[in-house]
């Protein structure tokens, strides 16, 4: 027994010793070595296929955008920036829409072969192949013909496709690599080639993915860094702690209160901008919705009774002070095309009561009162008590609900919470139309206005509100086939102000801010509110 005890003791000491030795042995490698930036991210891509069903994730775009390089990119203002990869594609004919482009002579793959028109043509074939589980075929399926001559190409579309520039400027697959391959299984664990500033190096699943400088990249200044390591830390607190303790240098956090700790820390730089995702409250017009919501005066009472500016200010007072209420469903406040069309509806609680009483509603308070428990009933539509649906587990949404619930109750309108998991509320409740008010986020992009008919047009694919204004819908349809961006913006702003703002099918709340936190030793990373993410300018990143 004594021998066994001694053995046990020796074993324990050996384990303890290894734990103690560990720090000394690894201290030199746990941080970033020279020329390396460690990018901490909250989500790991399931694979590297890109825009495939189940993988249409920002985490995947972050890695792939600089591997499948495009001719243009959305910069940190959401505008297209020419990247010298392709000569600026241009429309040579409007009917049928015909587009020409040409890749730069400097555009080469990492194996030395030139990037040619056939690469984009092969990409088109990938996206229209019904066997491939791509997330969207929009635009690709509108291509009539695709002719190539070396680096030059001509694309003829079947219809006027307003967002043609995104297709032609997107990063092509390497035709010589994907030929004859099953694309559903092609890039599950690695990408063997690159046309961008970095190329795939290794992936330790569950821990990190490493990309290294592509030495053959010549169309823009090459990466100054040797490599970027994406470290996947799923826990929010652990991510912030890891950043503080130098285990990573760059992070794109969700809007979380912990960001406030970094705002006054001279070891870190926080960059923040308003993004393309916007929070809003949809109103149900269909047969399963509350009959009162079909009355314009009730919708006017709702929007007038919500202090949207206060909601935005309260939610983001610590991490993005001054965040304005969103006054447009079409554009975001930082876009040059943004017009505050919804400004007309200002918070005025007495006005709500006047509107309701003026329409014969009874039973509510005669003046706004925080302690009010009386709810209005209106002629022919009953009590103004609405089911309010949103997702559980989202602190910002819970707080938003509490604020507007209190504001509306003080003027005699009741909101009854009907919260559920994302899968349930988006999968079952939203499409069913069996709700009154629904708060969620649309994740937009600079191109969203082109297809906004899907959200607000009559019978639109994602018009779960069952809202339909024929005149408005016709204009949205026209927008989707208008090639000029400025003309589209004018049409949308005019139509929103004229029809949507008066119909109030959906209440815009705020556009969510986007953040990048970087160590002060790393220069270069800034917020890019599009899916390009902060690595859009990785070639200028440096580390001390």
């Amino acid at each position: 027994m004594r021998k066994r005890s001694i053995l046990l003791l020796v074993g324990a000491l050996a384990i303890a010793a290894s734990l103690v030795v560990g720090p000394a042995a690894t201290a030199g490698t746990s941080g970033a070595s020279a020329g390396t930036v460690v990018f901490i991210h909250d989500q790991e891509p399931p694979n590297l296929q890109g825009p495939w069903v189940g993988n249409n994730l920002y985490a995947t775009s972050l890695v792939l955008n600089n591997i499948w390089y495009g001719g243009q990119i959305r910069n940190d203002k959401g505008d297209f920036v020419l990247r010298n990869f392709a000569v600026k594609p241009r429309v040579v004919k409007q009917r049928p829409l015909t587009v020409q482009f040409q890749y730069s002579n400097n555009a080469v793959w990492s194996d030395g072969r030139p990037v040619v028109c056939q690469d984009l043509r092969a990409t088109w074939q990938v996206f229209i192949n019904p066997q491939n589980n791509v997330v969207s075929r929009t635009g690709w399926e509108d291509i009539q013909s695709f002719t190539c001559q070396g680096k030059k190409g001509t694309i003829v579309f079947k219809t006027l496709y307003a967002d043609w520039e995104s297709l032609v400027s997107g990063g092509p697959y390497a035709a010589h690599i994907i030929a004859g391959k099953n694309m559903n299984e092609m890039f599950l664990n690695s990408v063997p080639i690159s046309s961008g500033p970095w190329r795939f190096s290794s992936w330790q699943k569950g821990v990190q993915l490493t990309v290294v400088k592509n030495p053959r990249f010549k169309v823009a200044p090459p990466m100054k860094l040797d490599r970027v390591v994406f470290r996947y830390i799923l826990d929010t607190n652990a991510r912030f702690q890891a950043l503080k303790s130098g285990e990573g240098q760059v992070m794109e956090p969700q809007p979380q209160l912990q960001i406030a700790d970094f705002l006054n820390d001279r070891n870190f730089v926080v960059d923040r901008k308003i993004g393309f995702a916007w929070e809003h409250i949809d109103i149900q017009f269909g047969p399963k919705g509350h009959p009162a919501l079909k009355q314009p005066y009730v919708r006017q009472a709702l929007i007038t009774g919500m202090n949207r500016a206060q909601v935005a200010a309260t939610l983001y007072k610590d991490i993005a002070p001054g965040l304005p209420a969103l006054q447009s469903h079409m554009f975001k406040p930082f876009e040059s095309t943004y017009k505050p069309n919804w400004q007309k509806w200002r918070f005025n609680q007495q006005r709500v009561i006047d509107i309701l009483r003026g329409k014969g509603c009874t039973g509510g308070p005669s003046r706004p009162s925080a302690g009010n428990n009386d709810i209005y009933s209106c002629p022919g539509v009953g009590k103004l008590s609405f089911r309010f649906v949103t997702t559980t587990g989202n602190q910002l949404r819970a707080l938003t609900f509490e604020i507007i619930q209190r504001q509306l109750k003080s003027v005699g309108i009741e909101l009854v919470p009907r919260f559920g998991t994302g899968g349930t509320v988006f999968g079952t409740v939203l499409p069913s139309g069996d709700w009154d008010l629904f708060m969620f986020t649309w994740v937009g992009s600079p191109a969203t206005p082109i297809t906004i008919k899907d959200l607000y047009g009559c019978g639109g694919d994602q018009n779960y509100m069952n809202y339909c204004n024929r005149k408005f819908s016709n204009i949205l349809q026209k927008v989707s086939v208008t090639l000029s961006a400025s003309e589209r913006a004018k049409l949308l702003n005019d139509a929103e102000l004229r029809y949507m703002v008066n119909d109030i099918p959906s209440i815009p709340m705020y556009a969510r801010p986007v953040f990048v936190i970087r160590s002060a030793k790393v220069k270069g990373p800034v917020v890019n509110p599009t899916t390009e993410g902060s690595p859009w300018n990785v070639n200028i990143w440096t580390t001390a």
Binding site: L19, S30, D235, A242, E247
Partner: protein, 325 residues
């Protein structure tokens, strides 16, 4: 004994089947449509989603879906994930290995310390050491795992901010450049220090109480008194006559706990972002993918059953009076 083992395994397989069906129903019904978020994406290819729904039988009733799952689990190594169609088993093996490293080290150290503390506390009942050990045990039992993990992370980061020395990493399984061979092992051990500490605290607190109680019961029993009366040295009485018998309740507890922990120390792995079974389960639940959840369940349930059986068999070795019928 073989007959006993076979009988237990047969009973267990019935439990496994029932558990698998119940969990499948809960996940399939409770989490909603796993394709739902994709229908919200702009310009989504709805035909593609419908193809996936058809291929994975999502439009069938839950009984039919369960039957397809059983087929895949038995003939195709738990099948593939719902959306990305990737094989489940390789990922499960990967995370299981990581969890094993964490749990084995934590449990071995916990048993070592807990047994020593428990035995010494019992032998020195109502001494300063006993009161101190008791106090810390209750503290350990009362401390929530997530809180302790967060506090350790904060402490380590504060030390780093004040001294510039990172004594332990706060997340992940290894460094950016972990090296290979011994260097890799040491780097992994370095990363596991905090999670192991967290797991150890709860285990030591619990095991040491059991060990103390069990040891007290044994050292006051007649046969121990007889051994002393026969003039045996105290060390022999303690280690040979008392200690071995006092281990029996602890064996049950450790075996059950170990089996459950192999399913992943969910909180610890989540807080430290360790790529283990617990985090794998949480991620699978988050994307409402029933297939990895089911695979995880089967592995975890099997582990619990196996370790339960091991505990029962171990009784026979520790206590010759135990008979398997």
């Amino acid at each position: 004994m073989l007959q006993y083992v076979v009988r237990r395994l047969l009973y267990s397989s019935v439990v496994l089947i029932a558990a698998s069906f119940l969990v499948f129903v809960f996940v399939a019904k409770g989490a909603g449509d796993p394709l739902a978020p994709y229908y919200l994406a702009p310009n989504i290819d709805k035909e593609g989603l419908e193809r996936i729904a058809e291929a994975k039988h999502l439009n069938e009733n839950v009984f039919v879906r369960y039957a397809y799952w059983v087929r895949d689990a038995v003939t195709n190594q738990f099948g593939t994930t719902l959306l990305t169609n990737e094989p489940i088993l390789p990922d499960l093996w990967r995370v299981m290995k990581n969890t094993l490293q964490l749990v084995v080290v934590a449990e071995l150290l916990a048993i070592l310390f807990a047994v020593a503390i428990g035995v010494y506390s019992a032998l020195r009942q109502y001494s300063v050491f006993d009161y101190t050990a008791t106090t810390f045990s209750f503290l350990g039992l009362a401390t929530p795992v997530f809180w302790l993990a967060l506090m350790l992370q904060v402490a380590v980061v504060q030390i780093y901010l004040h001294t510039g020395h990172r004594i332990f990493p706060v997340a992940n399984l290894n460094s950016v450049d972990p090296g290979s061979g011994l260097s890799f092992v040491l780097d992994r051990a370095h990363h596991l220090v905090l999670p192991v500490l967290v797991l150890m605290v709860a285990s030591i607190a619990s095991y040491s109480r059991y060990m103390r109680a069990s040891m007290l019961e044994v050292i006051n029993s007649d046969y121990v008194r007889t051994a002393r009366a026969k003039g045996l040295p105290e060390s022999k009485v303690t280690m040979k006559h008392a200690f071995r018998n006092a281990l029996i309740p602890l064996v049950t507890l450790v075996a059950l706990n170990f089996g459950a922990l192999l399913g992943g120390a969910i909180v610890t792995e989540t807080v430290f972002s360790l790529d283990g079974m617990g985090l794998y389960f949480v991620n699978a639940l988050n994307v409402a993918d029933p297939y990895p959840v089911m695979a995880w369940l089967m592995i975890t349930a099997t582990m619990i059953i196996v370790f339960n059986l091991i505990a029962d068999i171990a009784y026979g070795f520790l206590d010759p009076r135990v008979r398997y019928e």
